[in-house]
């Protein structure tokens, strides 16, 4: 029997699949899918049939975060976190660099868009009652993302080193000093001394572009992981709401949990 020559298409498919299989082979353990399998699962997993635009606010907020990350990295290439040159570097970015105003403008306004989308996303989750079992932990992670997002705003506000930035931060730091116990220590720790100066700017810069964004990225990853694992909730008023009791035998509880067989009629 003569061996058939593989077609062009088969060769192409093989060419694409080879690195994917290689990657899968090296990221999976027996019985569990690896990176490629995970991405496949992410893309082709089932979601409730009745979800729509309301469920896009989370990914919209993620998009705004990515815009902040990308524009932030570009700004960091030209910004100088030092009181003698910070203001001038901002003016240089805005006035002289090609599209510098665009990158800075996107970063400045993207921050507000990010916060607005976080609030809208939170409102949607609240309206749908989607913070209830088993999604409580993801609500908490979301709340932390909101708090950290606002802190990003506070620490980033000083960086242009103009009058508004400086004096708003003076007031902000002074207000934190009114707190009980830790309050009086918080100011000097944040400022890196008794006045707002070079150390404050360096400290705020580090917090604004390393510490908080790192924490945010980690929390967003965890948030998404839980979303995929648990699943997004149907709108509660939908006639085809996933999870609403249907006529017929109830499905068996999840495997692996110490759960007795379901008994009795279920109430909604």
């Amino acid at each position: 029997m003569a061996k058939k020559k593989p077609s062009r298409l088969d060769q192409l498919v093989k060419l694409v699949l080879y690195p994917l299989n290689w990657l899968e082979e090296r990221t999976s353990i027996p019985g569990h899918s690896g990176l490629v399998g995970g991405i496949k699962y992410f893309l082709f997993r089932k979601v409730p049939s009745d979800i729509s635009w309301g469920h896009t606010l989370g990914s919209a907020a993620l998009t705004a975060f990515i815009v902040q990350a990308v524009t932030g990295v570009i700004l960091a290439m030209y910004y100088k976190p030092d009181p003698n040159s910070a203001y001038e570097s901002i003016r240089h970015i805005t006035d002289d660099l090609w599209a510098g105003w665009l990158v800075r403008g996107m970063h400045r306004w993207g921050a507000s868009v990010f916060i607005i989308l976080l609030f809208l996303h939170m409102g949607r989750v609240f309206l749908y009652g989607a913070y209830k079992y088993p999604r409580e932990l993801n609500w908490i992670i979301g709340a932390l993302i909101l708090v950290l997002g606002m802190m990003e705003g506070f620490f980033g506000y000083l960086l242009p080193w103009d009058q508004t930035a400086y004096w708003a931060t003076v007031v902000g730091v002074n207000l934190q000093a009114t707190g009980p116990f830790v309050g009086p220590f918080l100011g000097p720790v944040l400022q890196g001394g008794h006045d707002i100066g070079p150390d404050t700017l360096a400290r705020f810069y580090s917090l604004h572009m390393l510490v908080i964004p790192g924490a945010l990225a980690g929390l967003i990853g965890l948030h998404l992981w839980l979303v995929v694992r648990i699943g997004v909730s149907s709108p509660p008023w939908s006639p085809t709401e996933a999870g609403r009791p249907q006529p017929g035998p109830p499905p068996a509880p999840r495997k692996g949990l110490v759960a007795p067989a379901p008994r009795g009629a279920r109430r909604r």
């Binding site: 089932k46 306004w109 009980p180 109830p250 068996a252 007795p260």
Partner: protein, 286 residues
């Protein structure tokens, strides 16, 4: 196993079952919506940046366009005319500080209420533990949410529209003050009043009806009578208020000894320069 957990697990198992049997794949259905929305977000951000840039007059890049200035003047710890304005999502906190005044209740606005809000936000899933998700059947949760939205909105609006006085506007008032308070003949006090009008004191303090009582700072119209620290005492206080237990007011050490002395003279003259009073600083200084 308790009954609630059992019910919850059954509900989620039913959810997983329904999604598996009746759901749609994320790609392409949900991903289509997400992609359109993400593009919209990027477009909105770019449009905001473009409006910000191109509504600013070319001939004067430091003036304000539709979305505010491209940049303010460079930070100067030594001067003048600052406007402590936070970003808009802190306006509600900003306004809380006008409601809760320093020093008695400022801690309510700076620490207690923000902490309470964060704790309530995080604790929500443990407070609202019912399984019902339909909004109309959750009257308590919905009422609470609407109240929060209204109050946050109102505080944000009030914080946004709270007017900060401009130094130039305050400066006009100095001769009127000098006449009313009776220190017109004392050039040091008049100079001090000009400093007072310009360096931002009136962003937090009121004086004879002008200025704003931001952060609950007291009215200073007759501070010379009520506080009576003397010229040097006031200069010391303004130089570093934290030495006197005031951690809210910024330091003004950078004004320099001469300016501080003038400021102190002005403050000591306020409310004490009526004909009967003997505390009024003599013309020319001490």
């Amino acid at each position: 196993m308790n009954r609630r957990l059992e019910e919850r697990r059954a509900y989620h198992a039913r959810y997983k079952h329904d999604v598996k049997t009746r759901g749609k794949p994320f790609y392409p259905y949900a991903m289509f919506h997400d992609t359109v929305m993400s593009l919209l977000v990027v477009i909105v951000i770019v449009v905001l940046a473009v409006i910000w840039k191109y509504s600013t007059p070319h001939e004067d890049p430091s003036s304000s366009g539709w979305l505010g200035k491209l940049y303010d003047e460079k930070a100067d710890p030594g001067t003048t005319n600052f406007v402590p304005r936070p970003d808009w999502y802190f306006y509600f906190l900003f306004y809380l500080l006008r409601i809760f005044k320093w020093p008695e209740s400022v801690i309510l606005g700076t620490v207690l209420i923000p902490t309470l809000l964060i704790v309530l936000l995080i604790a929500l899933p443990f407070i609202d533990i019912g399984r019902e998700r339909r909004p109309l059947r959750r009257p308590v949760a919905m009422t609470a949410a609407i109240l929060v939205i209204i109050s946050m909105g109102a505080l944000t609006y009030k914080g946004a529209t709270a007017k900060e006085p401009l130094a130039a506007e305050n400066l006009v008032l100095v001769p009127k003050w000098a006449q009313k308070q009776g220190f017109a003949g004392n050039q040091t006090a008049v100079d001090g009043a000009k400093i007072f009008a310009q360096v931002g004191c009136m962003n937090c303090h009121t004086y004879l009806g002008a200025g704003t009582s931001n952060l609950g700072a007291p009215d200073l119209s007759s501070i010379g009578k009520t506080s009576n620290r003397g010229v040097a005492g006031f200069a010391d206080y303004v130089s570093d208020p934290s030495k006197f237990g005031n951690n809210v007011m910024p330091q003004f050490r950078d004004l320099g000894a001469d300016n501080l002395r003038k400021l102190g003279t002005f403050l000591q003259s306020s409310g004490t320069c009526s004909p009967k009073s003997s505390n009024c600083p003599a013309a020319g200084g001490q």
